[in-house]
Point group: C2
Chain length 205, copies 2
């Protein structure tokens, strides 16, 4: 009798504006075998935000205890608040056979890689930098200085793309979703996940 | 303007009787972007065999010249004849953007890995050794000693399965074909193939 197959940890990165959220939402539509990681934060909940659903809302003391206890897969500080990925939530879902998606930036991803080298690291690339510039400008929700700040950050992210396992180009949403599905399916067949099965076949030979 | 995308070299191995040929035939049905590598041999053509289609039929001298010139991706001797994979045929198809399939055993695959580390190495695993035994026995075309010889060889092949990139279990033909399609599609997104694209995006940032 085989033990329940462990889920896959899927780390999904890419510059702001590249369309990560849209690709993931479409891919996850109707799937019950995959969920988002719930992040923890020390910032206050906004109206409508539910603890354990949108975020785990922790005190600064609790967050720092969790860091000290090695319970954070990755974390960072923005505007004086901590944000991070609690290890336990991810571990429980993976153990239950769920795939877990972390949509995080490249520094966080590097930390997750160190903690979980068996994870699946995917970077979403724009078809060109110009396309990214247009998307961020066309949103029209931010002033020129903010757009430039995002583009500078995007450049920093893009320079780390080659450290990921897979790179998906978002030139067409359907093709990008298809590529993501293939990468997740293929990862299941990667030798790192199949070693037990090979052992099993050999044991009964 | 981008240069034509190079094809993928797909190395497909697995024990005799595991169903490699059936999976490949179904996967390749109707696809025009993939072809089998044509092997070279020094054995005589059988009735109906066409030079350059079924095999390249070479003299022993020519085969040994090709080995000496580094023109064989891999080769071996069986029953006094050489068999092997000419590099040029594979190179030409890959350069033309075709995917090329090598259906070869594990020693040959190891040599191809050394020559073409960017290849896609896939091993087909039976759901159990018992299933493999049944399949080989049920064929009814070979005596018990021959079946046993194949099973011994299968064991040797299975022991090398973990050195491949991907392992596909042939428990169900459709699922195995689906897995193969996902692995080939995903390989295209693997970072080894996308580095140029990342460079391109960065160059125009």
């Amino acid at each position: 009798m085989m033990t329940k197959e462990r889920g896959q940890l899927i780390v999904f990165s890419g510059p702001s504006g590249v369309g990560k959220g849209t690709i993931l939402a479409k891919y996850m539509e109707g799937r019950r075998d995959i969920c988002y990681s719930v992040s923890a934060t020390t910032r206050s909940p906004r109206p409508g935000e539910v603890d354990g659903t949108h975020y785990f809302f922790w005190t600064k003391e609790k967050f720092e205890e969790m860091i000290a206890a090695g319970q954070m897969l990755e974390y960072a500080q923005y505007n004086g608040n901590y944000y991070g990925t609690p290890r336990q939530f991810v571990e429980e879902k993976l153990a239950a056979g769920m795939n877990v998606v972390l949509e995080i930036e490249v520094q966080g991803a590097a930390k997750v890689r160190a903690a979980c080298p068996e994870g699946l690291f995917i970077f979403v690339l724009p078809p060109s930098f110009e396309v990214l510039r247009s998307r961020l400008t066309d949103r029209g929700t931010e002033d020129a200085a903010t757009v430039q700040k995002r583009l500078d950050a995007a450049l920093g992210e893009l320079r780390q793309a080659a450290s990921y396992d897979y790179v998906i180009v978002n030139d067409d949403l359907d093709r990008a979703v298809e590529a993501l599905a293939a990468v997740v399916r293929a990862d299941r067949c990667s030798v790192k996940f199949q070693k037990n099965l090979i052992e099993e076949v050999l044991e009964h030979a």
